[in-house]
Symmetry: C3
Subunit: 274 residues, 3 copies
């Protein structure tokens, strides 16, 4: 059983106690060591922010893994439950509400189906509020055991959304905040290459707030404690950070807000926000 | 070693850093892949709420697993450290303060013992404040390795408690809040079948607060954003929810509060709260 | 592959979503069951407090494990990335900022190197803000697979710091708060043996606050609900606790504050804070 089953990862906004029920279901079919938690602390009901985090997490993984993602405020409603085979031979399982979209686009969609509860061995439904346990976990178990995607439901065209586009000019860049991490760093969609290296001091304007000065640095250590800085994040895009402090709470930042950086000159050019 | 050892699960209110010490102890005896975390975020010192969550988690699992549960405000005091063999061949290990009671009752008690520190290979005690590491983890390791329950201590009759009873009538149901989840949904002890399907609008009264209107729905998507609703939770009982919001913070709900639902008529009948 | 690879543990302040990227990197080299999470909730940027927690966690483990620790506010800056082989044949991998120091001292340093990115198979760096994923995870994978420490970089003398010393007298003890746990218990550096067993009532003074009375007890159950107590913690040192409540929020305690206990008499003697 061990050698023939794929690894299953779990990424949810459910907290660990609810997610444990998904693990219980998976352990009925798979050796426990083939199931790993990634996170159960995705932003609650935060589909777009989670989509970025999921893409970031999953692209670190080797191919051939079954990734279950549950951020599902519309559970039981109109959104379809789906599974996707990617071009590298991984699988994505979850609600078709956009939370899988960015990872699917990055990895490439080879095939997708709408999960049919009768064909995935779904548990008898005690409610219609926990597809993670009742539908996605059994579907993931089948895929991990080598069942073909086409046996789990009819073909489906997954929902796709385009992340906001960043505008980059010779002296200005406009983007949005995609994610605020637990340190209060605000990860934007602005490419790390947007700012010329020689621009050491920037103006940062977020939403309707007054512009502030920030240093363009490579690492936190180049900032003074509590100083505001702009640097290349581990996502490959620019982040707004405060050394040994929270940029988010200091500036009152929230996900989705517009960020404008200025250094000199004007006339931005469009850059894909991916 | 691998094939002969049972799976051990850990469910605690300790946070992951304290729980890691339990894992260290277990790894001294078992292959690491035979030890899995369920949650370390059970309600702190919340024995009754945890008992519901533990029952809910553990009943999703296959039989034959050793489940360690540590919510133990009375550690080192009068409550006994115990281990239970259930009728399906699983084991429950933890303090005899009620946190195991609901799972034990659901799975059926085949045998129970009071753990004797000298017979479980307990670690030398540096304090008397962490039986999870010093007593329950070593006991679980022994059970996982196939030691018989009777070798770990004398027979014991576990503490048992009856969860609050729900009253269900033709036009009214009275219960309590058992659990508030991380989305702010309030899970009650009211059976999902309490409300006739035709009752589309309900009155919900919690504690001494004014009654509010709520929709009787099947899934969150049937609610308007921020609307209050009553639906069958993934626990099989009714929950009070707000779409894309927190019912708990909007209504100020806490665990243990009385919930009264009304739709028409009167004269409730008693229904077991299990 | 399985039998020849060591276990890798992960302890970070990164939260689970960032840590998942470290796991993705490790899974490219190791069987997933050889990688386990300890905690991703270490105090954010809290190097000294984390150092105590890490020592406490790691000393519960069997020898021969590769422990990765990431609390790294100075990532990319002057602090060196290092790996240490301990006298029991374990490995410690992380930033040389002190977070490894107490565990290293306890386990004994056999050999240490500064990690050379080119020699650990470091991932191409998209930023310089996530050595956990880009440097420490690949280094840990190499060690887990049996590579010799000396192949990963040049010799290094790790940074070492001495935890604050406790003063213990016949009627008074002075120490500091090393850690506040999730229950609000304040763990000090005062040895559990500091107070004579016959001293049943103590005076506790923290920082500049007024002294308060506390009971000298062995277990929480000896306290009345909400009563302040001093007892031997699971760390082997004294803790300030409130039964079924949080000593930290009741007294407003923070890590690093000075704690003075008095019972009778005077003239403290020095005791190592380890």
């Amino acid at each position: 059983m061990r050698s023939s089953s794929r690894l299953v990862t779990l990424s949810t906004d459910l907290g660990s106690a609810y997610a444990a029920q998904m693990k219980g279901v998976l352990y009925r079919a798979l050796p426990p060591e083939r199931v790993v938690d990634l996170t159960h602390d995705l932003p609650r009901h935060g589909i777009e922010e989670s989509a970025f985090l999921v893409r970031q997490m999953l692209t670190a993984f080797p191919p051939g893994v079954v990734h279950v993602v549950v951020v599902d405020p519309g559970v039981g409603g109109a959104r379809a439950p789906i599974a996707i085979r990617t071009k590298d031979g991984s699988y994505l399982v979850g609600p078709d509400n956009g939370v899988l979209s960015l990872a699917a686009e990055r990895l490439g969609i080879a095939q997708a189906v709408r999960l049919d509860p009768r064909r995935v061995g779904a548990a008898p439904r005690v409610g219609r509020t926990f597809d993670g346990r009742d539908l996605f976990a059994p579907a993931a178990a089948r895929l991990a055991l080598g069942n073909r995607l086409s046996t789990l439901g009819p073909k489906w065209k997954p929902f796709s959304w385009t992340p906001p586009t960043a505008l980059v000019g010779p002296a200005r860049a406009e983007g949005v905040i995609l994610h605020i991490d637990r340190f209060g760093n605000a990860i934007t969609n602005l490419p790390a290459t947007a700012i010329p290296g020689r621009a050491r001091t920037l103006s940062v304007k977020v939403g309707g707030r007054p512009a502030r000065r920030a240093s363009n640095v490579s690492v936190y250590d180049e900032l003074r404690p509590r100083q505001l800085g702009i640097l290349a994040s581990s996502f490959g895009t620019l982040e707004v950070a405060v050394r040994e402090g929270s940029a988010a709470s200091r500036l009152g930042l929230t996900v989705g807000e517009k960020v404008t950086l200025r250094w000199t000159g004007a006339s931005p050019r469009a850059v894909g926000g991916k």
